[in-house]
């Protein structure tokens, strides 16, 4: 069986100070594994957006990061309000961000579309009142 590396991260909702820490660590790991710089950049953007969604909307989440010689996967499983209409949320510019979020430079409605653009596979499972699970995968080659 192929070797895999797995690490999980806890993300706290509302914790702006620590926002982006998991993506920073993920990037560092991928660079040390010698993954192509362009793929690292895509993973960075996708995981950062996913992490920020938790910080902005959810209570907390677990981010599971797994890498094998052929695939990188990031699963963000949050406890939060859920997304009522996933296909609407996927549209560029659609945003439910508050004014405060926008002032901090977030909530331009590019989060999920940006994740889609920077991943090879994206699946979103959401249950209203319970939470959202975002599954992102990228091919290494």
């Amino acid at each position: 069986m192929d070797n895999t590396f797995l690490q999980t991260f806890k993300i706290q909702g509302g914790n702006i100070y620590n926002a982006g820490k998991a993506s920073t660590e993920i990037k560092a790991i991928l660079k040390q594994l010698g993954i192509n710089a362009r793929i690292v950049r895509r993973v960075a953007i996708a995981s950062y957006e996913a992490e920020m969604n938790v910080v902005m909307y959810a209570k907390q989440a677990t981010l599971t990061f797994e890498v094998s010689p052929s695939q990188i996967s990031i699963i963000v499983d949050d406890e939060g309000p859920g997304i009522p209409d996933v296909s609407l949320a996927m549209q560029e510019g659609f945003s439910t961000a508050t004014r405060e979020m926008r002032e901090m430079g977030f909530g331009a409605g590019m989060g999920l579309p940006n994740i889609k653009k920077n991943s090879d596979y994206l699946k979103i499972e959401s249950v209203i009142g319970k939470g959202t699970k975002v599954i992102i995968t990228l091919n290494v080659n």
């Binding site: 070797n3 590396f5 920073t24 660079k31 040390q32 594994l33 290494v140």
Partner: protein, 444 residues
């Protein structure tokens, strides 16, 4: 190529393993083994932070000395604009230039004026080029190296414009060749440098095989001689006043102050620069046009080879800009024309120099990463540094790469001894019980 050239050197005889350098190194490039500090070549970005903190002066910056210049028939001194801020308020830039001639340089050339020209070129590039935003300044060699090593993704963000130092040296040389009839190789352009990192772009230019600068002398080396000459001078000088916004370049924000674009900002120090680079990598700053980055927290006036307190020097720069900065020294239209003729362009591409991965083969690299994590879990995670690696995570990596043994960690070693001694005690007790009962058997 890894490890081909660095501008700092560790002197083993002077080093007694204090670890100050290891703790401040922003890229975790230093290890202390057997009470001697050493460098991991592929990680060093030549920022010189270690040079600042070594209590034994065991880390030396490799700059030039006067005798290196004897091979030239004609020498031109090009002081970094940060040099103007190293002296008292009555010492004007022109007086400093005049005094450099008195101590032995055949001529001098003002780099601040080239900085103004480069600022106009940056503005032109911002106005006419659609490359990825934000653009990142490429004038601090330590920052460029940081990007080559840790952020190869961001190489297309570096602004492909030549540094004021190079532009000034090229101009100065061309001028003198015409004037004196000497060949380029007979004229030495000598930069007076605030930091060792500049030496890097001289000895090992990023893209070209050749730099127009022939050597760099440390500010702190030339300062005492020059100060003496200045104090003996009557204050008169033939050199006309130095003017222009380029005088502000050696402080944080100096470049941005020359630009018209609104969405620009400046950052000083590696901790904050890394935060910005992480944000750029995460696509967070796309609305920003230009980021001016300096490895030193106070930019060039606080370079490792400067003399004056960087905050005092910064104050002087601000006053100089107030006094002389508002009168331009360049003709904007002329510079635009030169820009269109690629006068300011960097040639070639800045290549990535990523840190060596854990293994060249990805499957083995993943295996080693997992091992690194397992080792890290066994460590106290307090980053005490007693093992000679800067953090527990760095130590775990050093174990995986077989640079050290796991029980080089004092906490792991203590646990091992505890286990050994309790095992030993148990064995001794068991044996003594056995012996005692044997003795009882014999004696009874």
């Amino acid at each position: 190529m890894h490890g081909e050239f660095h501008t700092i050197k560790f002197v083993d005889d002077l080093c007694d393993g204090h670890m100050h350098c290891m703790r401040v190194c922003p890229t975790q490039a230093i290890r202390v083994r057997n009470q001697k500090a050493s460098l991991l070549d592929d990680r060093c970005i030549d920022c010189g932070e270690c040079v600042r903190v070594c209590p034994n002066n065991a880390i030396i910056a490799m700059t030039s000395s006067f005798k290196d210049f004897s091979k030239f028939k004609y020498t031109i001194a090009l002081p970094s604009p940060a040099f103007y801020a190293q002296f008292g308020k009555d010492t004007t830039p022109s007086l400093i230039l005049e005094s450099l001639k008195k101590i032995g340089f055949n001529d001098v050339y003002d780099v601040a004026c080239a900085s103004e020209a480069v600022s106009i070129a940056i503005q032109e590039y911002l106005d006419t080029n659609k490359s990825p935003r934000p653009l990142i300044s490429s004038f601090c060699p330590a920052i460029v190296q940081l990007i080559q090593i840790r952020y190869p993704n961001l190489l297309d963000h570096l602004i492909p414009i030549e540094s004021p130092m190079e532009i000034a040296a090229r101009e100065a040389k061309n001028l003198k060749m015409k004037e004196t009839g000497l060949k380029a190789s007979e004229i030495g352009a000598i930069y007076i440098t605030p930091c060792p990192a500049k030496m890097l772009s001289i000895k090992n230019p990023l893209r070209k095989k050749h730099s127009f600068i022939d050597g760099a002398i440390a500010m702190r080396d030339i300062y005492p001689t020059l100060l003496q000459t200045i104090s003996q001078s009557n204050g008169n000088h033939d050199i006309k006043d130095i003017q222009g916004l380029g005088l502000g370049w050696p402080i944080v924000g100096g470049q941005v102050a020359c630009l018209k674009a609104e969405d620009c900002f400046a950052v000083g120090g590696l901790t904050d620069t890394v935060r910005i680079l992480e944000d750029i990598e995460n696509d967070r700053l796309k609305d920003i046009q230009y980021v001016e980055c300096h490895s030193c927290p106070t930019a060039c006036v606080g370079g490792t080879l400067t003399v004056e307190n960087p905050y005092i020097a910064r104050g002087r720069v601000l006053r100089m800009v107030e006094k002389y900065g508002l009168i331009p020294c360049q003709n904007r239209e002329k510079i635009r024309g030169l820009y269109q003729k690629n006068f300011f362009s960097l040639i070639g591409k800045i290549s990535p120099h990523p840190v060596q991965p854990l293994d060249e083969e990805i499957s083995r690299a993943i295996e080693k990463m997992q091992k690194k994590q397992d080792i890290h879990d066994k460590l106290p995670k307090i980053d005490c540094g007693a093992c000679g690696s800067p953090t527990c995570l760095a130590f775990a990596e050093d174990v995986v790469l077989e640079r050290v043994m796991l029980d080089d960690c004092i906490f792991v070693a203590i646990k091992k001894f505890e286990k050994l001694s309790s095992d030993l005690l148990e064995t001794v007790l068991r044996h003594s019980e056995k012996i005692n009962s044997n003795i009882k058997m014999i004696t009874s």
